[in-house]
């Protein structure tokens, strides 16, 4: 039975949606934050894993989206959904501009440039405190005026599902192939007729838009927004999540985000030791299993419904993934 994994995932999602009201408020919060990171990890994997544009400004885009929406709602009193849309549009636009500016940069230069961009965003937000309330934190309008976190759970679930559907469609289309071609060799891609510049700008705009989506949700979920949302610490956590899961596939990136977020909460008794431990796991992953720890599991899972005598696993994959898959 082909596509068994899709049905299994849908069933798991249905069970999760049905049973979510059994969760206590704390674990529901963890699940919501995990889905927030899931959107970020998936969009960062689109940017860094598929297109090879290693941006360190992804959390900064989330922060830009969050602040845009929260400030518009606060100062101009526009409805929250409109503010959220404005935040996402702002991120798409800014992402496109950043993508355009760093067209000629690759690898480390791009990383340094986006790191600089993130720092400027963070410094500006924390210094202009008469508008953004700075490090004290901006009080934001909540999306739902309910005691329960259930509406937030459903919202974040829907946002994650929609983001994954759109991004999954992108990476399965010709565009996904173009992006991977650009990652492997920009000049060869250009020689094969891919409009490298257009796609680099496009993928930056799209990925930043999704980062903005996560950011606007976060801004109207957590009542206090601080500039540290766009800081290097959270960016490092995002890199850890995505790389440990496997940055070259959307599901493994999201899986990495879920796994790391839940483990961080489960291992709370180890306090500060959690972060360096995940640092070590990241280094070991990069050194010995560069495709990510969840990738082999995912590949096996995808093949679940297929007869064992089918073509060797590598061959089926070769069309979709690069030779290392």
């Amino acid at each position: 039975m082909r596509g068994l994994h899709v049905y299994i995932l849908l069933a798991v999602a249905a069970v999760a949606l049905a049973c979510v009201d059994q969760l206590n408020s704390y674990w529901m919060h963890v699940a919501i934050i995990a889905m927030f990171y899931g959107i970020l990890a998936a969009s960062w994997s689109l940017l860094a894993g598929y297109a090879g544009l290693f941006s360190l400004g992804h959390m900064a885009f989330a922060s830009v989206g969050g602040y845009t929406s929260a400030l518009l709602v606060k100062w101009y009193g526009i409805p929250i959904p409109l503010g959220m849309a404005a935040g996402i549009a702002m991120c798409c636009l800014l992402g496109g501009v950043v993508g355009w500016v760093c067209l000629r940069m690759s690898g480390p230069y791009l990383a340094i440039f986006t790191l600089g961009f993130a720092e400027i965003i963070r410094i500006t937000f924390s210094t202009e405190d008469d508008v953004t309330a700075g490090m004290a934190g901006l009080h934001t309008e909540p999306l739902f005026h309910t005691v329960s976190r259930l509406p937030y759970f459903y919202t974040s679930f829907a946002l994650l599902a929609a983001s994954l559907a759109i991004m999954g469609w992108i990476v399965r289309s010709r565009w996904g192939l173009f992006l991977r071609a650009i990652r492997e060799d920009e000049q060869a891609a250009a020689a094969s007729g891919i409009a490298v510049a257009r796609f680099r700008i496009l993928v930056f705009a799209i990925a930043s838009g999704f980062a903005g989506l996560a950011g606007v949700f976060y801004a109207h979920y957590i009542p206090i927004l601080t500039p540290s949302l766009g800081g290097l610490d959270l960016m490092a956590v995002l890199v850890v999540m995505t790389v440990i899961g496997g940055m070259e596939r959307l599901p493994t990136a999201v899986g990495g985000a879920f796994a790391v977020e839940f483990l961080l909460e489960l291992l709370r008794e180890y306090g500060q030791w959690r972060l360096p431990i995940f640092g070590v796991i990241l280094l070991v992953t990069m050194r010995f299993a560069r495709n990510g720890l969840l990738t082999p599991i995912w590949l096996r899972f995808v093949r679940l419904g297929e007869p064992r005598s089918a073509a060797p696993p590598v061959a089926r994959d070769a069309g979709q993934e690069d030779s290392r898959a």
């Binding site: 090879g52 690898g107 990383a111 720092e119 400027i120 210094t127 990241l282």
Partner: protein, 302 residues
């Protein structure tokens, strides 16, 4: 209106900070020119160097200057161990997209070291004893001895490095490896060994910078984040791989930052935006002149 004295003090401070920045940046450049990676963990090696000197001083009662050298040695060894365990895939042809590998590994290493430092050294700032207590007065000008000392030792270290790079056989071999790994191997240079060596020397210079800056500012686990970014500003301004360019750019950046703070009327805002200013310069250079102002053409990153 501000006085001339204030301006002089600010520029003296700027020069010292610039020398320290240059010391960090020279390491980044050296590592880049040999290993062809940007070391995102360099600021954290600088932080470790500062703490190492602090503990050598406070636990063993070693004089500060000697402690700086101990710390340099320790970081040299540590860096070689890190390079051997983590960065060897960079030299293998089986590794694809080495840029990405180097980036993520050094970024992960920085994450690990910074969070480890919070646990081991504690989150609170520490201050080691002064190298030379007291202040120097030149007219109305007051500069602390520590700043003067840091500047002088920093310049001495940079001069030593320049001498080493240009006048000794090992330095010339390093330069050869940076220009062409294959040609260097053909004339009998063990390029693998120079990978480790360059990483070690870069880390040792960062350790010296950390030990020198510790009595002026304090030690904190996240002290490496900003100097790391400033080091990129310098390296990109001065040109990747150019040691002299880094030194010039370091002093220029230190000066501009100090004077920038001095000239802006709103003090808190000026302080916050000094760092943004450096980053802005960095972004401008990356956009308009990606080889840097003194870049060496063969070291341009493609």
């Amino acid at each position: 209106m501000m006085s001339w004295d204030y301006l002089f003090i600010q520029s003296a401070n700027g020069a010292v900070i610039g020398v320290i920045y240059a010391l960090i940046a020279v390491g980044v450049t050296l590592i880049f020119s040999i290993l062809k990676i940007v070391n995102f963990a360099h600021g954290d090696l600088y932080m470790l160097g500062g703490y190492c000197a602090y503990y050598v001083i406070t636990l063993f009662g070693v004089p500060p200057l000697a402690a700086m050298f101990v710390s340099m040695m320790a970081l040299f060894v540590l860096a070689i161990i890190l390079e051997r365990t983590l960065l060897t895939p960079l030299y293998s042809d089986a590794t694809e997209r080495k840029d990405e590998y180097g980036l993520i590994v050094t970024f992960g290493l920085a994450f690990f070291l910074r969070n480890m430092a919070i646990i081991v050294f504690g989150p609170f700032p520490l201050k080691p004893p002064s190298f030379v207590p007291g202040v120097v007065r030149i007219g109305n000008l007051i500069v602390t001895n520590d700043r003067l000392f840091a500047g002088v030792v920093g310049i001495a270290l940079i001069l030593a490095l320049l001498y080493f790079m240009q006048r000794t056989i090992w330095g010339q071999a390093l330069d050869a490896v940076s220009q062409s790994r294959e040609s260097a191997a053909i004339v009998g240079i063990n390029t693998q060994r120079f990978n480790s060596f360059a990483f070690g020397v870069g880390a040792a210079l960062a350790a010296a910078a950390g030990a020198l800056i510790a009595p002026i500012f304090s030690l904190a686990p996240d002290m490496g984040v900003l100097p790391n970014i400033q080091a990129y500003v310098i390296v990109i301004l001065g040109g990747m791989g150019s040691v002299v360019g880094s030194i010039l750019a370091g002093v220029v950046l230190g000066e501009t930052e100090s004077l920038f703070t001095a000239f802006l009327p709103d003090a808190t805002r000026a302080l916050a935006y000094t760092n943004a200013f450096g980053v802005l310069v960095l972004m401008a250079v990356l956009i308009f002149r990606p080889t840097g102002l003194f870049g060496r053409r063969h070291l341009r990153m493609e």
